[in-house]
């Protein structure tokens, strides 16, 4: 099989700016803000995780980067810079040209994300034909090659299958093959292993890690599973009620969280390596987006709360080298878990 050169129409990027820079991003509906003032950078080749519970705004943040917000939800402010140029202000045509060859996305549910009436090989070949200008035959060969790279056994035969003929794990590999077919520099993953069994999850996480290491692709990985973040990412942003409340290297954040919410999440999650530890749930539940008060959104559930927390929103500030936390009382929980 001939190896097809995929990077022929590369956009040249300024190496001095981060690959992706999200600045003060706000997302909401007409009546309420769902994500407020979210900022983070992703360097080329970096693996960055976003964790949070349902309704924290983690998936919307990811979808805003991909330009795939649901109807009725829109970006209300801020910038999303890819290689220094703002995705939100560039022309729709230019932005679309970036989606695929530069930025690609892997969704949670491969059954709903794949076209049910199109052979999977053709679906993978679609991107390379459009963006890399490959001919029909070349693109089909590339699709088979991509399927082989994502560990699909017997790729030439499987390329002719329809999505329903494949298992969940294979479908997720097809989606990953589709996402990486044009050699993107940034891969957005929205809970890519949540629908998979645990043995298959491990295979898919390893595959993502290998692809990213081999090609230097950066990863933004959204999940609710702390252990999966630990396995996949080097850095993590913790989101709560539409805000990033803590950020830093995964190992440091998990060992010594500096925000009470992160601490609560870690204490409530079962840790396989420490079976005797008691699980401590976080009291209460997340605030409704419509009636968030003026103070810290976590204040009503927080064990460290003061009057100050109820009236003022703590900014995301540096609390240690490489560590950010949005908490007035962060010094009081500086001790390790």
């Amino acid at each position: 099989m001939t190896v097809i050169e995929t990077d022929q129409q590369r956009v040249t990027l300024d190496p001095s700016v981060p690959l992706l820079s999200v600045q003060d991003l706000s997302i909401g509906t007409r009546s309420a803000a769902i994500v407020e003032g979210v900022s983070f950078d992703v360097a080329a080749g970096e693996r960055s995780g976003i964790v949070g519970e349902s309704g924290s705004g983690k998936s919307l943040t990811l979808r805003a980067i991909a330009g795939l917000l649901p109807r009725g939800v829109a970006v209300q402010g801020g910038r999303i810079e890819y290689g220094g140029s703002d995705l939100l202000t560039m022309s729709a045509r230019r932005r679309r040209a970036l989606m695929g060859p530069e930025i690609a996305m892997v969704f949670q549910e491969p059954m709903t994300a794949l076209n049910p009436v199109m052979r999977v090989g053709d679906q993978i070949a679609e991107g390379p034909r459009r963006h890399l200008g490959l001919g029909k035959k070349e693109a089909a060969d590339l699709a088979v090659q991509m399927m082989a790279r994502t560990g699909i056994p017997d790729p030439a035969r499987r390329a002719r299958a329809y999505p329903h003929e494949l298992s969940g794990g294979l479908r997720q590999r097809i989606m990953i093959a589709m996402a990486v077919s044009c050699g993107p520099r940034l891969l957005l993953c929205d809970e890519p292993t949540t629908a998979l069994d645990v043995t298959v999850q491990l295979q898919v996480l390893k595959l993502l890690e290998k692809l990213c290491t081999d090609t230097g692709t950066a990863l933004v990985f959204v999940t609710h599973d702390l252990a999966v973040v630990n396995q996949t990412c080097s850095d993590v942003d913790v989101m709560y009620a539409g805000h990033i409340v803590e950020a830093g290297p995964v190992a440091e954040v998990f060992a010594a969280p500096r925000h009470p919410y992160t601490r609560g999440l870690l204490e409530s999650a079962p840790d396989f390596d420490r079976p005797d530890r008691e699980l401590v749930p976080i009291p209460g539940f997340p605030p409704n987006v419509a009636d968030r008060g003026p103070g810290c959104p976590f204040a009503p559930r927080c064990g460290y709360v003061t009057d100050h927390c109820r009236t003022a929103m703590p900014p995301l500030a540096t609390v240690a080298p490489g560590r950010l936390a949005a908490c007035f009382e962060t010094d009081r929980l500086g001790d390790v878990l």
Binding site: G168, T199, A227, D271, F272, V280, I282
Partner: protein, 343 residues
């Protein structure tokens, strides 16, 4: 002690369930392959009184089919289910009262048009659990059991969060005073911070009411926290049964070992891949010959390809369906504490 008191709460023997798929005349003429799906293929299992038994396995292994048969919403193709040593026959009011179920998704398992009070009252009246005049008091007691206040009686399910709905679903299951609770992935739809409260509730109910719980889950870290014993299913069979701590410290079936090695860990670098499995579970339409796990098993040899191993006792309270159970015991689990971060 009478014999019925000693008998396990539920005992399953030789249970099979197969679904034959619509064979069209064309398939018959062309003699296309097998059209029978074997969901359960000879399951033996006992749920002891007052224990939490976890049932783990990948999707398609038959966990939910087994649960459905145990609550009586479908019948087995062959085999028996015994309640307290008595073979359960046709589904009657008494046997359906004894075994209750809590479902995975608390959003679809509660009637959105009935208030919490109406849901509970319906059951209490139908099963004559308490005299009519005491239905309200009993409903309040049930809500108290799951940690909710009396003022939710007039609310609709849509007014509650996922965790609260799961509490309501548990209160509903408890309304008819069951002996056995079958929980099919009851926390997997919940957020982490809420999950812990529901696990705590199961542990408390078991202690306070002496319930026997069959807890179906795929998250092994959750199972490790709650269960007394664990049964591992693979492709319609139970392949290993052991007390929880022993199962996780010395698995005696290679599939269990692979499951343990696949668990994403919270501690940096503690994952290992010695037992990483290739491929995915084979199709239940076409179960491999010999040991059903052999195509994915790193230890498989010719014996495994030809002999279908039975679930045998391999030690006190331990069962394994593996010809190489003894060999596996000599392969140590990786030491995860060595790479652990200072905490």
């Amino acid at each position: 002690m009478t014999t019925t008191e000693k008998a396990p709460a539920l005992q399953v023997e030789g249970l099979t369930k197969s679904y034959s798929l619509g064979t069209s005349w064309l398939s018959k003429v062309l003699r296309r392959g097998s059209s029978t799906l074997t969901a359960l293929d000879g399951v033996d299992l006992e749920l002891r009184r007052g224990e939490v038994l976890a049932l783990v396995g990948e999707s398609g292994s038959g966990k939910s089919t087994l649960a459905k048969i145990l609550v009586g919403s479908t019948g087995p193709t062959s085999g028996t289910v015994q309640h307290d040593g008595v073979v359960a026959g046709k589904r009657d009011r008494e046997s359906s009262r004894r075994v209750q179920m809590v479902f995975q998704d608390p959003y679809s398992s509660l009637n959105p048009r009935l208030t919490v009070g109406a849901v509970l009252a319906e059951l209490l009246r139908l099963h004559d659990v308490v005299p009519r005049s005491e239905v309200r008091a009993e409903s309040i007691r049930l809500l108290g059991l799951v940690g909710m206040e009396a003022d939710v009686l007039d609310a609709y399910p849509s007014q509650f969060s996922g965790g609260q709905r799961q509490r309501l679903a548990i209160a509903r299951a408890l309304a008819v005073r069951p002996d056995v609770l079958i929980a099919d992935e009851p926390v997997s739809a919940l957020d982490v911070s809420v999950q812990a409260t529901i696990l705590e509730l199961f542990a408390r109910l078991r202690a306070e009411l002496g319930l026997s719980v069959l807890f179906i889950a795929h998250n092994l870290a959750v199972v490790q926290h709650l269960a007394d014993r664990v049964a591992v299913m693979y492709l319609g069979r139970i392949v290993e049964v052991a007390p929880t701590a022993e199962l996780f410290s010395s698995p005696r079936h290679p599939y269990t070992r692979a499951l343990i090695d696949s668990i994403p860990r919270m501690t940096a670098g503690s994952v290992n891949d010695e037992f990483e499995l290739d491929g995915e579970p084979p199709s239940p339409y076409d179960v491999p010959s010999g040991c059903r796990f052999h195509p994915r098993c790193p230890l498989a040899d010719d014996g495994c390809r030809s002999t279908d191993p039975a679930l045998l006792t391999i030690g006190p309270a331990r069962l394994s369906a593996c010809l190489k159970a003894d060999e596996l015991a000599t392969i140590p689990l990786p030491d995860t504490t060595a790479t652990e971060l200072p905490r």
